[in-house]
Symmetry: C2
Subunit: 432 residues, 2 copies
């Protein structure tokens, strides 16, 4: 099922999907040419927002944690795409060590890990799970609510190689976003593939680098198929020296917010959009919906109370926030049974392998839906994203999902560009 798109707007609604449909051949050729230049990453997921007049990614995750939410019908697509990724990155790999996040009490996350393990096994890999948790001192088997089991094993470092007992992997696949920095066992490895590369972790990754890369990718794509890039690209700005606790940098932030809101207002006017513009202030590093604030007026960021400042100043793993990105907010006008929904698209190699709707019954259409809680539920996509049907309307499920797949792949391509450009060797060379 596809959520309803409920908006008062009548003009550009569905026109974007129609443009994608009409240009499908051009779009696929364009992607093919891009992937000749840029090497795909192993996997990624992206959160999209669809306001009808704008369809844009608002987040690109390089350590996707919701494979369990995908429709099992599309598991063969995951396996085929994973085979392709393995052949590209480490064709002679036999043994893979998977390093997950440390939250062993989150059943949903553990089911994600189990699904990922099963996909990797189906591609013909021996897979073991190495835990970064200090308390995992021996193989620990977890029984999952869905009947699956997972065995976490203590990591063993042997010289410059990482493994677990009696298991020397050719590749280490990270499903841990490294927010807390590069853990000691992962430092100074040699002779093993690290997937994705370490600098893709949130200890060094910056949302603003991704936004810059996406900006270029979106502009190139939009020019190519003849659309206004704004339709797929959220405006953004960056503040690099902020301290919410010390209340420094507020002026810079307020000024950026104001500039952005002015630009959005002008675009809304151009497109006849009556909604109230908003921007999202986020920590430039980090994830998990922490350190995020929705702002509709620059004045709001100048008078933050203690609670707001505390909320913004610390993200996952207790990291302090000193750099923020200010991103154009995109209303989500998709609803399931009156609850607000936001599509999440999953990709492996350069293929879309499925997706789901993040449905939140207690959040508004201008709020962040990536927030845990009883009112969150995933709704798997019912059709895949690769079979547009020009015989049907632009909002028919295959066509809506095709549009999602296109924008998601743009974000994935931008991430691949971003990770290539931010590789330590590349940065060193640029500095030299």
């Amino acid at each position: 099922m596809v959520p309803h798109l409920t908006t008062a707007l009548t003009g550009p609604l569905l026109e974007l999907e129609r443009q994608f449909l009409d240009n499908q051949t051009e779009i696929e050729q364009w992607f093919r040419s891009q992937w000749l230049e840029t090497t795909p990453l192993f996997y990624g997921s992206t959160d999209l927002r669809n306001s009808g007049f704008k369809l844009a990614p608002v987040d690109l995750n390089l350590f996707p944690g919701g494979f369990n939410n995908l429709n099992d019908v599309f598991l063969p697509l995951c396996v085929q795409a994973a085979q392709s990724a393995i052949e590209r990155i480490c064709p002679d790999a036999r043994n893979v060590l998977l390093i997950p996040e440390n939250h062993t009490r989150n059943q949903f996350y553990l089911q994600n890990v189990a699904k990922l393990v099963s996909i990797l096994k189906l591609t013909g890999l021996n897979v073991r799970i190495g835990s970064l948790l200090a308390e995992v001192t021996e193989p620990t088997t977890l029984e999952l609510a869905n009947g699956a089991t997972l065995t976490l094993e203590p990591l063993e470092r042997r010289g410059a190689r990482l493994g677990v007992k009696n298991f020397d992997p050719c590749a280490v696949l990270l499903n841990n976003d490294l927010s807390a920095g590069i853990p000691a066992p992962l430092q100074g490895l040699d002779g093993q593939w690290l997937i994705p590369p370490l600098h893709a972790g949130w200890h060094s990754r910056r949302k603003s680098n991704h936004a810059h890369a996406y900006d270029r990718v979106a502009k190139d794509f939009a020019t190519h198929i003849g659309i206004d890039p704004w339709r797929i690209n959220p405006e953004f700005g960056v503040c690099g020296q902020i301290d919410f606790k010390e209340r420094t940098g507020e002026e810079c932030l307020a000024s950026q917010v104001d500039t952005l809101l002015t630009r959005i207002r002008s675009k809304y006017k151009e497109y006849g959009v009556k909604d109230e513009p908003f921007v999202v202030v986020k920590a430039d590093a980090g994830t998990y919906g922490m350190g995020i604030m929705m702002v509709k007026d620059a004045a709001e960021v100048k008078g933050l109370n203690r609670k707001q400042r505390n909320k913004m100043s610390v993200i996952k793993e207790g990291l302090q926030v000193h750099e923020v990105i200010i991103q154009e907010g995109v209303h989500t006008f998709e609803t399931v049974d009156d609850a607000v929904a936001e599509p999440v698209v999953y990709m492996m190699d350069h293929y879309v392998v499925g997706g789901f709707y993040r449905v939140h019954t207690e959040r508004g259409r201008d709020e962040n839906l990536n927030a845990p809680g009883a009112h969150f539920k995933p709704l798997a996509f019912e059709t895949c994203c690769t079979l547009p049907d020009v015989q049907q309307g632009p909002d028919a499920p295959p066509n809506r999902f095709y549009a999602y797949g296109v924008v998601a792949r743009l974000a994935l391509l931008a991430a691949a560009v971003e990770i290539e450009e931010t590789a330590p060797a590349v940065l060193e060379e640029a500095a030299a």
Copy 2:
């Protein structure tokens, strides 16, 4: 649904599928290493026979004509695999010319062409259909029984390039097996990809070359996972100088048949198989179930009557048969509603993308099922071939289909080896 496997045999039955299941990781790794050495072809299909004690390919088609018989649920797998094939063979291709067979009155074949066109379009290619038929002198649109339409266009040769009106393709995809030789418009092309290469056509291809390549592939694979190669490999022999009309070469044929039957009897004894061995005599070049004879005793090939000799002496396009392959017959013990069934597996690039059962209500389990007629019906596979489930029995659908996928891929790999080895340049070099 999976047909029933009805055999009195109790010993090795299902043991083969169990071996594949238990060695799944090894098998996938082995394939991965093979595909590093050998480049996959664009597409192929294979006819399998499953006698319970033996699961073997009996034909490998490089111009598959039954994409319309596949389960539409797996269309995304076709699209993903076709994308992979295009990226491998002609990544910068935009325009593809498809050249189908000439039988414009066969609705099933035309639906196959239509399905193939839709798959190619979904990968982002402009596709036009060029007809070799002399009577197609202007664009001719055919309405298909399933509501689809196809437009055949006259070929246009411009120097060393082939196209249709206002369409200069980067690649020419053949769905015509070239039984009648290389048509003039396809001769001496330069600067365009020909997929598969011309020498894959039946004007030059020989079943015996494929059988030799399969023999090596099967032995290597069987050694690797520790099974008797005979379990997946039909014995074969070749007679190179036969003339059914002139009754020359009969002695050679009878002697080969006898040798083969003796070897099979000994193997049947080893495995406790009570069935009556048989061999299949086929034209070494050619397809469409023509020029095929089932033989249970060498004497049979010495006393052929006029009708039998006529049947064997001519194949598709009226070609004379002078070379035959004698292949071990494999009983098919699969039945659907008491009708005999034979699995056909479809592949693109090196991926299995689906399959169907060829069900024939008027043929025996030791007969050729690739024969047209009202009693033939296709039955699409319900699950895909990449999701074995070790929790279930070896004959559960996902596991049966996995086994089919493994053997089919062995045949596909052998075809890729065969086409590499029989490339004109390679043969010239070997002769020099």
